[in-house]
Symmetry: D2
Subunit: 372 residues, 4 copies
């Protein structure tokens, strides 16, 4: 049986997932057979060109024609297009894979998670950083208790593409379309990754309350190809303090104004027995301090028995950012083929959204906010 995939969105994320799908047969031969069946978008010409390049059989300009025709629906559009097509697909019994953040608003995210629950089909939120070998290896260590009781957690996602006040306006600067700025775009990854790594009850447990801070440094931006400017209605950066169930302290931060950092997502964890550090710009590495060690060990997570690595190349032959999408698609499509649950699903997408919404609420109210 071949899974026919319909994909909404043909830019950055469309390319990343199409690439992932195309690489499965050679590297993950036990993945289900997949056909890139239909690519969905609005600009027919651009769409046709993209479909051709990305290996899709056909195109469609109306997603309503697609969501019940395909075996799986990938929703890779801008945030404000996440809810409606995803809910429609789920209602039609079609498994859905949706980019993060799950939705621009908590309400939409709840609606989507409800629809997923009702539908009872496989659903996924595309938190691809759970599928970095080094992160997965870190998770193993945490589950084995190698770090002991968790005391401190840090997550920071730094980019610099808006530090120039003349960088052009895009949908990512608009509250209607994006929901939030750095918070939703980058913070969603951080929140999910920390939930994944330390959220289990025998580690730090859930995030119980947060104190958030959002800031917009540049209030309006030029519209490309015109003399106009448009207002920036989302945050350029956020920070947050978190208290976990076990008392662990978290500090979170993201910015699009961090000069010198392109895609620098760092995670740091200190436990009673050890510590670890990870940076996405060196994603093949994990810095680890085990019990009895005197300093952090810089580990190249490229050995044969490291997560997913046996599918790729010999030790020391590093992989890149895009490989996380291959692993993610592999796991998602296997779940689809088996009718299994996929984690992170819409439930995890919603859980992250709740934290983000609480951070925003905290910022508005100027006080700590409990996370439901």
């Amino acid at each position: 049986m071949t899974i026919e995939v319909g994909v909404l969105g043909y830019r950055f994320m469309g390319k990343a997932h199409a690439n992932a799908l195309s690489r499965l047969p050679m590297f993950f031969p036990d993945a289900p057979d997949v056909e890139r069946s239909v690519l969905v978008g609005r600009d027919e010409e651009a769409l046709r060109e993209a479909a051709d390049r990305l290996g899709f059989d056909s195109i469609a300009t109306d997603w309503t024609d697609v969501v019940d025709e395909v075996d799986v629906f990938y929703n890779l559009g801008p945030n404000h297009v996440h809810a409606e097509p995803s809910v429609a697909a789920l209602s039609a019994g079609t498994p859905v894979f949706c980019e993060k953040p799950l939705a621009p608003t908590l309400e939409d995210a709840e609606r989507m998670a409800d629809a997923a629950l009702d539908a009872g089909v496989t659903n996924g939120t595309a938190f691809n950083y759970r599928f970095v070998p080094a992160i997965r290896y870190a998770k193993r260590l945490l589950d084995d208790g190698e770090l002991g009781e968790i005391h401190h957690v840090r997550g920071r996602y730094l980019q610099d593409w808006l530090v120039d006040p003349d960088a052009p306006w895009s949908w990512r600067n608009d509250e209607e379309m994006a929901g939030s700025g750095a918070l939703g775009d980058l913070g969603a990854h951080t929140v999910d990754l920390l939930r994944y790594l330390v959220g289990d009850d025998d580690l730090a447990g859930g995030m119980e309350r947060v104190s958030g801070h959002l800031q917009t440094f540049v209030e309006e931006r030029p519209v490309e190809g015109s003399d106009e400017t448009r207002p920036v209605t989302v945050d350029d950066a956020y920070s947050a303090q978190v208290e976990f169930e076990n008392g662990a302290m978290g500090t979170l931060e993201a910015s699009r104004f961090a000069n010198g950092h392109k895609n620098d997502h760092t995670i740091e964890i200190h436990g009673s027995k050890g510590s670890l550090r990870f940076s996405l710009e060196r994603l093949n590495e994990l810095e680890l301090l085990r019990e009895g060690d005197r300093g952090y060990e810089t580990i190249l997570v490229t050995d044969e028995d490291d997560p997913y690595v046996d599918h790729w190349w010999p030790p020391g032959h590093v992989i890149g950012w895009e490989h996380t999408f291959v692993h993610e698609n592999y796991e998602f499509l296997r779940a689809v083929a088996e009718g299994d649950e996929f984690v992170p699903g819409f439930e995890e997408g919603l859980a992250a959204q709740r934290v983000l919404a609480s951070i925003e609420e905290s910022d508005e109210r100027g006080e700590w906010v409990a996370i439901e």
Copy 2:
């Protein structure tokens, strides 16, 4: 003229300052002549041994005999001993140099700053990290506008000496004696360093409001040489979010539970034109991104024209932590000799204390607190 110095405290800080005083003649020949005149403490035997080793002429077990007899009084005792002797010395017209944090409580700090103002003599708070060559070089760059408008500021001071729950109780774990824990001991350094680096009006300006979080992970600790335990009444760690006058965002953190970090005080600043990073465990280095650079430059701040370096060794011959005390004492004693103001004085000690107190208050109230 020789300045006779009386020093209260003969342990860690007593040794650090005595060493600094002893090294001035060889390396800072234009420093005033100093006599290590009298060492003050309570345990006469230990005191005598220390005075001998640290090169003091005499000892005294009662500071009241000393504060008006010496030309300068160094208060290096535990925090709860900062206020009374310092105020007495100032009242006697004796210049005072006091270890940080200025006092265990804001009230004490205010009393001390008032006394300093009234006395009109040179006074100093021992924020020695202002005197790291790399930090001073960073300050030059900031003052020259090399980083542009300041957007983000981070300060983190990580240690791990309490992560073992059986690490013994000390005065540093007691609210009465220490005032606070990681917050006052480590956070005071961070707050002062950030005030120094970006606090000017044309940079980030003052810290306007904070949101703080304090945590005590281990509630009681064994008393050394007994079967008892005593309660830990201060924080083991704190975090804070800060908003500066210009809208810049700050995140602060310190911990005594950060496994793998011994004395790791890091500062990070992102501006519209550049960024910088500093770590105390590599204190000869500054990581700097200037306008037009593609990445951080790792600079060894040991060139002849770097701050204070011409007094020491040729380029690449690194200095250590203790050298910051030499620079600090040099500047303080020169100010004393000239009857000049020394910065950071008690005023700066108090300003840092205000931030720390606001962080505590914010933690208690669960909301942002404005800094007066």
Copy 3:
């Protein structure tokens, strides 16, 4: 027109090149169309499985049937199989792409280069590290004179897979089949990369003479699945000193016994105006010191205008080792389609071989050897 490719070798290198071929359409749409036509090997069953997985239309167990039937012949077999099929293909007018080192002996390499010259068709030696974006960016800087006059060059390739004396014997340990050990396998890359980077006349110029040192630490190794051992007849490690035409000094080294290093190929260059450093285990980065800089800048070579990067992902989204093969195949196949010369060709393969042979000769004679 579609180029039909025949590939000899279906293991590590077969997979790396098949992957590269399969990725061209999506990321390098201006590459010629390629058909993975026939996969050549001896073990029919393994071959059939590989052809299926790697996307080949057919298989062949005799390369003589293939070399004149395809449009391009890829020779990815063990070193001792490089010469004969490559020469046969060239004689049939078929362009050839051959893995490095070009041959196990200098004589074979000369024969191959002669055949390439006679044939007048496109030919390539697979020195893929010339196609790392950071290396290509470094080359740009060198060509622009940013490093000034070259004084020092270092190249080191460290692996550790033979440090265990019980690691099994393979063809790579056999002089007949491999020619040499670390020298040919790893040193070939280093020699080529240094020739590429600084070999131009206005940089360091050619390598004029070498002093070499080869060492075998473990004399025999167990044969997998048997009680036998076989002798190791090649070097486990080599080092060399090089003098360049302009007087620059080079130090070269490679080892399969460097504990803790998996695939660590580092290049360092010091010139009169600047310096640079590169490590394959962090292949997205280049450390660069420009004139006037105070330290090395750590550059993430992932910007849109960096070599090849616009074909992939946005800044900061790092690529992996395998991407170097995509770039290499892209350039090679374009040259084939246009009937152009490809650099590095067999000529460059031979030039590297001459240096390697001189290092061996120097080791045997215990004296410096001039490179013809």
Copy 4:
């Protein structure tokens, strides 16, 4: 009893040792009492100023008046002044501490070592890097067999102060006065450090043969304060390959032309069980790979039980370059007080010199040279 020290040389090394002597009482209370008795030099005015600043009781312009009057003679002059005064002092039964390299020529070094043997008094060569805590800690690990059988050894000492062709001529550029250039000045440290670390019979054993390469990049340099130039008659840089008794391979290198490196002495060792790396510009750190580790651990060698550290500051409070002189002087003076042998003595100074001389000879002959 107080040891009266006479010191020849009052510039860089004079200051470094005077500082070390002055710091002993406070930090190494069990060191013998030392009096900085007489400072020897030729320029009386400069000498008087230096003696005053460095804490010497008196001055002398003729060393012959000094060598038999003091309890210990420190020879810190330029290399060509090492032999005669040292031999005279030893002949008078005065213990001698001499800066490295022991002498400008092998003949002088032999004469000095003979004199030391005949005199039977304590003698030392000032290889201060043996006294870096991280190096001493590394030595402990090596002695405990933590690295297993030694396969590879690397030593590199990079500076950049001559890369500017207009940097002025000094005695260090003159063969008569210095003996050699980077080789003797920097290479002496490297050779000694490697002999210290792995020279024992159960580690790599002695250096058996070398292949050397010396280069002078700039043939003449301006004389400061004149229009003249003088020829550079020593090497600006050297490299060498070494074979150790156990078959281990060594690569050595030093340069005064390595742009971006100020005082970067790095040591790397790979053994069958582990590896280590050290850099003088981060001298508080050791990078260590132990058996079973997956990567290098970055260790801050500042714990209480690390070598010499208990004399200084708490963990994480880093020391500097100058501290190595304090440790060295402490050990040397204790040996003097006890009439004990000090290691490294003139014997070790001579052994290093033999290696350096063999490197020069190898360079001249263009072939490997056995080390006696």
